[in-house]
């Protein structure tokens, strides 16, 4: 691989802010070459599609495209794979809003207010703000990536097991804000979610837990099949029961966000960008957590938290922005240190390896044309996605007019094909169907699925982090408070838990009233 100095003049190699912009500009020019544009467009289009289809996620799509790596031009191919990952974040919200079925796990939270908006005939503004928020979050995060990547990567290294444990506890406090039914039911669901996550091989000792001798269960219960079942299949079952010919009776009002919508969404979009960017940069936290955190914060500081869950546009704007920003900053550990942090980044690591571009601490210096080309392609790709997604809103809304006997079997079909394609495993399909029934019963008895997804995501991270910490400290719990970052998150978690009770206003009032009602 040519050295930085061999490719660019030497002053490019010690970067100043202006030079960073210059690099980004050069990268964008490189990404605008016809072949790169073509692959980039294919990527974002595919990504949108993958995002819209429940079940099939970016990891699955990239795995299917790996064989192409050997035959495609390296930069163009990588641009396409990156396009799939952020394109999926744009597409994921579509089905959440329209039919209450998240296209990706990172759009679970969008169901709460997005679907409520759609029921009021405001699917257009919800989809619109999701697209604009995604664009703003995604684009700003690229600049963050360009300026802060190496520094943030170093910061991420300070997160050892005790820091993760504290951060996860902090994350669990979001639960208080996710529930809009009774608190005890939400807690029960979160516990059920974490219990489910413990199925499979014990991550530390390899002991099978709750597998009942079934080989498939050794790998645990995956997030995708559970989400598809819980939201997708159960929604279809509910609709079968309802016997209405159409999904919505309400007239569709407006295709784009109004001025008031924009006023309500501006701050959540800004906060979502920041939150998503920093959460995404910490290795091992996934995009889902960024969306839950954004929702929790918006609800906490809102002047009208009671509107959340009944169609508050802030509840769509924040999380949908956060997931795009997080998916962008999620590249930081990989690109600046060569550390893949999840299934998608591992796959991209593999793709880079196929082309002999092993990412590592010297990657940016040694392969500037790839790094800046990819960043540039993301600038172009995000613009493409906005242009692609806005006109699609009209089309999606028309989809809602399809009779449900036509629409819903299709959704189930795509969901099941999606879960099957990724693993090639019939067991996952069975899990999907079982959780369809579970989700149906949950809705019948007014248990909410979102806290369960939070438990499913955070449970295993929290468990492994606590157990690893205790191995490190040889059993002493002091490890959670005598390390500064861990201690800070512990204090934040305590604050989040106690503040509503202490202040007794806004949300606190609401929760207390609810508790008293019970």
């Amino acid at each position: 691989m040519p050295n930085c100095r061999a490719v660019f003049s030497s002053r490019f190699c010690e970067r100043q802010p202006l030079e960073t912009l210059n690099f980004l500009f050069q990268g964008t020019l490189a990404a605008a070459a016809p072949v790169n544009l073509l692959y980039g467009f294919a990527g974002v289009l595919l990504g949108t599609l993958v995002g819209v289809l429940p079940g099939l996620g970016p990891a699955g799509a990239i795995a299917l495209l790996l064989p192409l790596a050997l035959h495609a031009p390296p930069l163009a191919y990588l641009i396409m794979l990156f396009g799939i990952t952020y394109g999926a974040q744009y597409g994921g919200s579509t089905t959440s809003i329209l039919v209450n079925i998240p296209g990706e796990a990172s759009s679970v939270i969008t169901c709460l207010d997005g679907y409520a908006m759609a029921r009021q005939g405001r699917a257009g503004p919800a989809l619109g703000i999701a697209a604009f928020g995604s664009f703003i979050g995604g684009t700003l995060a690229i600049f963050g990536l360009a300026f802060l990547a190496p520094a943030l990567a170093e910061l991420g290294l300070h997160f050892g097991p005790p820091e993760y444990a504290a951060l996860m506890l902090f994350g669990l406090t979001a639960l208080v804000y996710l529930a809009h039914g009774p608190m005890d039911k939400a807690l029960l669901m979160a516990l059920f979610g974490s219990l489910l996550a413990s199925v499979g091989l014990d991550p530390l000792t390899g002991t099978p837990r709750f597998t009942f001798g079934i080989l498939i269960l050794r790998d645990g219960v995956g997030l995708t099949p559970v989400v598809i079942g819980l939201f997708g299949v159960s929604e279809v079952l509910l609709n079968l029961e309802a016997k209405t010919g159409e999904v919505f009776q309400n007239k569709v009002r407006g295709l784009l966000p109004t001025l008031q919508d924009w006023k309500d969404s501006a701050a959540p979009i800004a906060r979502g960008t920041l939150l998503g960017f920093f959460i995404g940069a910490i290795p091992g936290l996934n995009v889902v957590i960024a969306t839950f955190a954004s929702y929790a914060i918006e609800k906490k500081i809102s002047k009208h938290p009671e509107k959340f869950g009944t169609g508050a546009i802030e509840g769509v704007a924040g999380p949908e922005t956060a997931n795009n920003a997080a998916s962008c900053s999620g590249w930081i550990p990989l690109l600046s240190l060569g550390l893949p942090t999840g299934s998608v980044t591992s796959l991209i690591f593999g793709a880079l390896m196929i082309h002999g571009l092993a990412p590592g601490p010297l990657f940016i210096k040694n392969s500037p044309e790839v790094f800046w080309g990819l960043l540039g392609s993301m600038v172009i790709g995000n613009a493409m996605l906005l242009i692609l997604n806005l006109p699609l809103i009209g089309l999606w809304i028309r989809v809602l007019r399809l009779p449900y006997f036509f629409l819903f079997p299709l959704i189930i079909l795509f969901g099941i094909i999606g879960t099957y394609t990724v693993s090639g495993n019939v067991g996952e399909v069975v899990i999907t169907i079982i959780f369809g029934l579970v989700g149906f019963l949950m809705k019948k008895f007014a248990y909410e699925p979102a806290p369960m997804v939070l438990g499913l995501v955070i449970g295993p991270l929290l468990e492994t982090a606590i157990r690893r910490s205790l191995i490190m400290s040889r059993g002493s719990f002091a490890v959670f408070v005598n390390r500064p970052i861990a201690a800070a998150f512990m204090i934040l978690a305590l604050f989040m838990l106690l503040s509503p009770l202490l202040t007794r206003r806004r949300l606190g009032q609401e929760i207390i009233e609810k508790l008293e009602e019970n």
Partner: protein, 322 residues
């Protein structure tokens, strides 16, 4: 009468097929790989399969079946037709583990499989420390472990992987007490070593290379001479030949596949590695390309592998009986 005639015809057809059998291979071959897509093992199988497709003029498809720690993929191949059209791509140790842990299980290395080709010690496992630490060689590790039993924390992989088992072997051979801390794999152990949360990390040499080049990490020992880090001495050279679970990449066919078919496959795999482009590509990435295809060689290898893994309990191998 008609049905009888029909069944006779079908029987005749079935029986006569071998007589008029088309030369192998006449249809696509399925290579079931027991790892997830994107990792080092998967990558190598994909590159070889792609080259095999060109040489055999028939599609060689990689199908990932990582479920059940690879047992589901192995079981599928073990039960498939013995015609060379379904192959298993796996680490030899992964399949040997299934034997040791569950001898009567649905997939058994010695009972159900016939090795076609083995890439011997295709990548090294390396023990790493930070360049600013006191651990330069194994001697330093052993000395400090004797002084402070249990205090050295080493980042290892999931239960049953060679990253973990080799630490167990070192503990036994050197009679030391160090604390293994399991992570999901090389990337995570390296991350935690860089962050200073563990004292040592086990990882694949290829994953460690950029960080050694970057000057933050150093190699303490490797289990087999590494193609990319020749300066790091093996466990054996540093006095612990017992730490020797090498990673062999194996192409396995169901037992009973005709010898002629095995030979065609083995010869093709050998030819793929002679392709200069592929060879250069694999060398650049740090893989050892020591391919073994002679039957006697392979049988010894399988025997050795079984012996190596029978040193562990099913529990240590990650197959605790329920």
């Amino acid at each position: 009468m008609k049905t009888r005639l029909f069944s006779i015809t079908v029987c005749a057809l079935v029986i006569s097929t071998p007589l008029f059998a088309q030369p192998f291979p006449s249809r696509p071959i399925e290579l079931i790989v027991t790892s997830n897509p994107g990792g080092g093992v998967d990558l190598l199988f994909r590159l070889v399969a792609d080259e095999m497709t060109k040489l055999l003029k028939t599609q060689v498809n990689v199908v990932n079946q990582a479920a059940g720690s690879g047992a589901i993929g192995a079981e599928k191949v073990a039960a498939s037709r013995k015609d060379g059209y379904t192959l298993l791509g796996s680490l030899l140790g992964q399949v040997a583990t299934m034997n040791v842990a569950n001898p009567k299980g649905p997939a058994n290395l010695t009972r159900d499989f016939q090795p076609v080709a083995v890439l011997y010690g295709y990548a090294a496992v390396i023990m790493l420390s930070r360049t600013d630490s006191e651990f330069k060689t194994l001697k330093d590790v052993v000395a400090l472990a004797h002084k402070k039993p249990g205090e050295i924390i080493v980042g290892v992989g999931p239960t049953g992987t060679s990253l973990t088992l080799e630490v167990e072997l070192l503990k036994r051979a050197a009679k030391i007490d160090i604390t293994p801390l399991p992570f999901a794999g090389s990337a995570q152990t390296i991350t935690n070593l860089l962050g200073g949360h563990v004292n040592l990390a086990m990882a694949s040499d290829v994953a460690a290379l950029p960080h050694i080049k970057g000057g933050k990490l150093q190699g303490v020992a490797v289990d087999v001479d590494s193609a990319v880090l020749p300066e790091v001495a093996t466990f054996a050279k540093q006095g612990f030949p017992q730490v020797n679970l090498l990673a062999h990449l194996a192409f396995l066919a169901p037992k009973g596949t005709p010898d002629a078919t095995i030979k065609i496959l083995a010869d093709t795999i050998r030819k793929t590695l002679q392709d200069p482009k592929l060879k250069e590509n694999l060398n650049a990435r740090g893989y050892n390309l020591d391919l073994r295809t002679a039957t006697a060689d392979l049988n010894t290898l399988v025997k050795e592998e079984m012996e190596k893994y029978s040193r562990f309990s099913a529990d240590e191998l990650g197959w605790k009986p329920q």
